[in-house]
């Protein structure tokens, strides 16, 4: 029997997280390279299964128990451990979401296994499967292999594969419900309702031009020149996480995995090094101009126009030029 790849799609509050399609694309590519069988599972929301079953998959499992809602790491880890005991997989793939980060290290540890987390790709060379992940905040990349027995767990970074490239199946994949038993006392956490902070007042997702500042801005008072540039361009001001952590700009101006995801016509990154958590929030921008004094800053990897230099030298004349151009 061929080895199996199992994709665990993500549901939150009973709704499919669209990032799951990216994991399906990744799984389909690995299946094509290795010849392994590709299956998927959804934990605790059978209603999501049909949407997944339309994709090119050998089978879809709905792992069910009353105790899987609301989400807890204890229940999800216990359910998948039980499922994998009766449905062995060689490789288990998931999106690298906050929810997966919350339970997958626990699941793997409970089985004496490991997770290669936050991968951006894979290679299959002379029969060996390696996963590529970023290290040192994206400055370096590493090819990482498993040295343990299966199952191997691996998670993919948001945006590493294109969800819209997930292939449809010729017909819907069969869906099988697998009931799991979660004993009393397994779940220790009591989650309350999910909520959104009311102060989320700024919507940057519609902005055409964004001027974003990072650590390179040095001091709170220097944010003013970025604001002047944003105003001159008729754009919005945004920031990387450390700036909002410091309280220099409100949290609702934060771009990245814990903030907003944007895709403006122009993203002007001032003194932003380009940590992965920031890049996932802005790499879809139509054009990126980056100004940074560190020529090795990862932001330059994704910039269309790179200015290696001190932002305090470059921004003031830039404001003047923009004003001139606007007349």
């Amino acid at each position: 029997m061929a080895d199996t790849i199992l994709i665990v799609v993500e549901q939150r509050e009973g709704k499919l997280n669209r990032v799951s399609f990216e994991t399906i694309t990744a799984g389909q590519a690995i299946a094509a390279a290795t010849g392994w069988t590709l299956e998927a599972a959804v934990v605790g929301a059978a209603s999501v299964a049909p949407e997944i079953a339309s994709k090119k998959l050998a089978k879809v499992y709905a792992i069910e128990s009353r105790k899987l809602a609301p989400y807890t790491p204890d229940a999800f880890a216990a359910a998948l451990k039980q499922f994998l005991a009766s449905h062995p997989a060689k490789l288990v793939l998931m999106p690298h979401t906050y929810q997966v980060r919350d339970f997958v290290p626990k699941l793997a540890t409970s089985m004496g296994r490991t997770v290669i987390s936050d991968c951006i790709g894979f290679k299959h060379e002379s029969g060996k499967l390696v996963f590529t992940r970023q290290m040192f905040q994206g400055k370096l990349a590493a090819d990482v292999s498993f040295t343990s027995e299966a199952p191997w767990f691996s998670t993919f970074q948001n945006g590493a594969f294109r969800g819209d490239k997930a292939e449809d199946g010729a017909s819907a994949a069969p869906v099988e419900t697998v009931n799991v038993e979660i004993a009393d006392g397994v779940i220790r956490n009591k989650p309350q309702e999910v909520f959104k902070e009311a102060k989320q007042a700024v919507d940057l997702t519609q902005a055409e031009v964004i001027v974003a500042v990072g650590r390179g801005i040095k001091e709170q008072k220097n944010i003013e020149i970025a604001k002047q540039l944003a105003d001159a361009l008729g754009g919005d001001l945004a920031a990387s996480r450390p700036i909002c952590d410091s309280g220099w700009l409100p949290m609702d101006r934060q771009i990245g995995s814990s903030g907003q995801t944007v895709a403006p016509k122009l993203y002007l990154a001032l003194g932003i090094s380009g940590a992965i958590q920031h890049i996932v929030g802005m790499k879809g921008s139509r054009a990126i101009i980056a100004v940074n004094k560190d020529s090795e800053a990862p932001i330059f990897e994704i910039a269309d126009y790179a200015v290696v230099g001190n932002l305090f030298d470059i921004v003031p004349p830039l404001i003047e030029e923009v004003k001139k151009a606007k007349g």
Partner: protein, 250 residues
């Protein structure tokens, strides 16, 4: 807590291309600094003791010294060059072994490290200890049955979770405002206890790494990047030209 290369430190690969060369400047992993700060604040509210722990070569002691200077009560250093190459599973096992005689109520870690970026060690440690955990925490309050924590979810969503203690929490950057060490603190730190744990003391718990870095390298560029060079005024002119004629945002 973990010592990691400084954010803007230029990194060089070692000869075998499996890790970086040691001769860079180091600093404390930023999320860990927030974890320490939160521990100090919780102690100020509820009394008790703050213990800091790290694994790594002799240089990593600097992280502990800084933590003691900020107000931690004592420190544990799993000291050996080999700890740098441990995967998250082995690192967590080493910690679990080194603290087996301790009676902690809460263990805080940063949510991830700036070097490996696994985002796993804290959760693995919880599982090894048999404790509950919660990740990406933005607030911690004590209540009758244990603690209530605020988890950050994606896209601006949050959730409160009630949980018993002892527990492991991974702390999000920005949960609090970091303090600086005072001169008195730095002086006092010198007399605070720092226990060194040699590799031999935890060796029995350590196995082969379950994952292996085959190759570390400078990532290949996938995007064509145009360098804009010249004096600042010249750069400004060129950028505005691009904005006007190519990007059409002006």
């Amino acid at each position: 807590m973990k010592q990691v290369p400084q954010k803007d430190a230029p990194l060089k690969l070692n000869e075998s291309g499996t890790w970086i060369r040691e001769d860079v400047s180091y600093e404390v992993n930023e999320p860990d600094a927030y974890a320490l700060e939160e521990a100090l604040r919780q102690r100020e509210k509820h009394k008790g003791e703050v213990v800091v722990i790290t694994s790594g070569p002799a240089r990593a002691q600097q992280v502990l010294r800084e933590a003691l200077a900020k107000g931690a009560d004592r420190a544990i250093h799993l000291e050996d060059d080999k700890f740098v190459g441990f995967d998250a599973f082995n690192t967590a096992k080493a910690f679990a072994t080194a603290i087996k005689d301790e009676q902690f109520d809460l263990i805080f870690t940063g949510l991830q490290s700036d070097d490996y970026g696994y985002a796993q060690t804290g959760v693995i440690l919880a599982e090894l200890l048999g404790w509950p955990h919660a990740t990406i925490i933005m607030q911690i309050e004590k209540n009758d049955s244990g603690i209530r924590v605020k988890r950050e979810l994606e896209a601006g969503y949050f959730q409160f979770v009630d949980m018993p203690t002892p527990a492991v929490l991974t702390i999000q950057s920005g949960i609090n405002k970091l303090r600086y060490a005072t001169l008195i603190g730095i002086k006092q730190a010198k007399n605070k206890p720092l226990r060194k744990v040699p590799l031999a003391e935890v060796q029995a718990a350590i196995g082969e790494n379950l994952q292996k870095i085959e190759k570390l390298y400078i990532p290949q560029k996938t995007k064509k990047t145009e360098r804009i060079e010249g004096a600042p005024a010249e750069i400004a002119k060129k950028l505005v030209d691009k904005m006007k004629n190519e990007l059409r945002v002006l």
